[in-house]
């Protein structure tokens, strides 16, 4: 039988690859300096020299989108990794120790899980204050509960299996059981939910900077660009559209990959 091509995975990888390349390059080099202003180029439409046009200060939108994607990408990767590592540790411990510890952790988790992520992010940002670093801290904390829940259920599933029982019988330490028996079997599930987490992080970061709580000017960020472009929609719709499309492409690529990966069996 002919094997079906996994188009989701292929297209997702291509999109994410291109976006990643642009974003990573954007952190170090952009076609024009992102803060270079020019009066003549104020709200200039897309042209060969400025393929995405220019903003209200005459700055090149393409360069700023590149830098903004880089920032969004860095924030998302950092926060998801942080949430994943801390959440996995907490979830593993809750599942492994069980009893009242598990009960307390999971009740807190239930309450936090009921809240939409953007609301929690807002609460945390109001607590820590705005700015890029605080957004990273807030989003990092935000992602802990979902990973803790997944790690715990993986731990509960694997804990009772025979190879873990045997490891315990031959006298392995708790740490060794968790790291060399449970973790290698649980990490695929945990990584799969990291993709969902990544998309939430991208949307949350963009949303927070749209509200003016994330990256502070003059640094470029996709959300803030859309927010500024809102006042120039009549004259320069491209200024709003390109950063928005950049966010969609970023999210879509990772979503396609995770869909594709879930079909591999």
């Amino acid at each position: 039988m002919k094997k079906k091509r996994n188009y989701n995975l292929i297209i997702g990888c291509i999109i994410t690859g291109i976006v990643l390349l642009l974003a990573l390059v954007g952190l170090f080099w952009t076609p024009y300096p992102t803060t270079q202003m020019s009066l003549e180029l104020k709200l200039a439409p897309p042209s060969i020299a400025h393929i995405f046009g220019c903003d209200h200060f005459g700055r090149d939108v393409f360069s700023r989108v590149m830098q903004g994607m880089g920032t969004t990408f860095l924030v998302s990767i950092t926060t998801v990794s942080f949430g994943m590592i801390v959440g996995t540790i907490i979830g593993f411990l809750a599942g492994y120790i069980g009893g009242w510890f598990d009960e307390i952790i999971m009740r807190i988790n239930d309450v936090l899980n009921a809240f939409p992520s953007i609301l929690l992010a807002l609460v945390l940002v109001s607590f820590f204050g705005s700015g890029l670093l605080n957004v990273i801290v807030a989003l990092g904390i935000l992602f802990i509960p979902s990973f803790a829940r997944i790690a715990r259920s993986e731990m509960l599933r694997l804990k009772g299996l025979q190879f873990v029982q045997s490891a315990r019988l031959i006298g392995d330490s708790h740490g060794r059981i968790i790291f060399s028996q449970i973790l290698p079997n649980a990490y695929t599930t945990i990584l799969a939910s990291a993709a969902v987490g990544f998309n939430n992080a991208v949307l949350a970061e963009a949303g927070l900077s749209y509200m003016g709580l994330g990256v502070q000017p003059p640094d470029a960020s996709l959300g803030r660009m859309i927010s500024e472009a809102g006042s120039y929609l009549l004259k320069a719709p491209w200024y709003a559209i390109f950063p928005g499309v950049a966010i969609i492409v970023l999210v879509l690529g990772v979503a396609l990959i995770s869909e594709g990966v879930s079909k591999i069996d």
Partner: protein, 312 residues
């Protein structure tokens, strides 16, 4: 009955937990409210006086109970920024935000169920791929960007409304609704896509069950099986999902209100956060928390009525 009581008990515990967390979080924030109100050059006597007036000199446990007692009586104190009671700020904004959320929710229900059925009926590979692609892209669009696109299309090109021309529902209820339809689309569209995806999966899973084969064997037509048997069962998990959707709508309205400059709870929260106006932030967060927990409770109750097998 025991189920209901147990649920109500967890509801109360959850609310108390949240109130403690909210209170503690905003009490340990560096920067005393009295100092921030008077400025750093105030004399120590003046600060001590104001601290006493605001009740900041009392032990934290006592302050919590005073605060909780007031909150239960819906008194959330005075806004630092506007110097008026938080209640007077919230009053009409709650109505505006509620209308917005209700319109969005109606849109989700009205559109997602037929589209979900339509999508589940697609058997061919191109049809399925097209539906998944559309839902996937719609889900990835941030609601505020959607808001900007809608403003561009309906306000600048089609001139159907003017941004910022919001009329208070007290003056003209339908006028307010007509304006709020546009932000509601921005909130509802990604949620419609989420619900469509969920419903499609649910219907497809249901179609493989034994009773469907029996129904076909009895001579039902395709549509007869779908509408008479499958749909009812596949809507049951959607009820729980609606709880999530309502919470997402409430949260999504915060940012979309800003896009369309609707004077609602969301815009109030954003300005309060930017200006560190903690009494307002506390009140809004408590309000949202209360709303979400109550919604989850209602969803659980409906679920129990629809599917009596459910146990906690």
């Amino acid at each position: 009955m025991k189920y209901v009581l147990k649920k109500i008990l967890t509801l109360i515990i959850a609310l108390l937990l949240i109130s403690i967390v909210v209170f503690l979080a905003f009490s340990v924030i560096p920067g005393d409210a009295a100092i921030s109100k008077l400025g750093t050059e105030a004399t120590p006597e003046r600060i001590a006086e104001l601290r006493e007036m605001l009740g900041l000199d009392k032990p934290i446990l006592e302050r919590y109970f005073i605060w909780l007692g007031n909150a239960v009586q819906l008194d959330f104190g005075t806004s630092y920024q506007y110097n008026v009671s938080v209640n007077s700020l919230l009053g009409t904004r709650i109505i505006n935000s509620s209308i917005l959320s209700i319109i969005s929710f109606i849109m989700v229900i009205v559109f997602s169920i037929p589209i979900g059925i339509f999508s589940a009926k697609r058997r061919s590979v191109p049809g399925r791929t097209a539906m998944t692609t559309i839902t996937q892209i719609t889900m990835g669009v941030p609601s505020f960007f959607l808001g900007v696109l809608i403003t561009y299309l309906f306000s600048i090109i089609l001139k159907m409304f003017r941004l910022g021309d919001f009329v208070s529902p007290a003056d003209s209820f339908w006028g307010a609704c007509a304006y709020l339809v546009f932000p509601a689309i921005a909130i509802a569209l990604p949620k419609i896509a989420m619900t469509v995806k969920f419903l499609t999966t649910s219907i497809r899973a249901e179609l493989h069950k034994d009773y469907v084969r029996t129904a076909y064997a009895k001579g039902h037509t395709k549509n007869g099986v779908l509408y008479g048997h499958v749909l009812k069962n596949s809507l049951v998990p959607v009820i729980t999902f609606m709880g999530v959707i309502v919470a997402e709508i409430v949260a999504g309205s915060i940012i979309v209100e800003k896009v369309f400059s609707v004077p609602g709870v969301g815009t109030l929260l954003i300005t309060a956060i930017t200006n560190r106006d903690y009494p307002v932030v506390e009140a809004v967060v408590l309000l949202f928390a209360f709303l979400i927990i109550v919604i989850n409770f209602i969803v659980d109750m409906i679920y129990k009525i629809v599917d009596p097998r459910v146990k906690i």
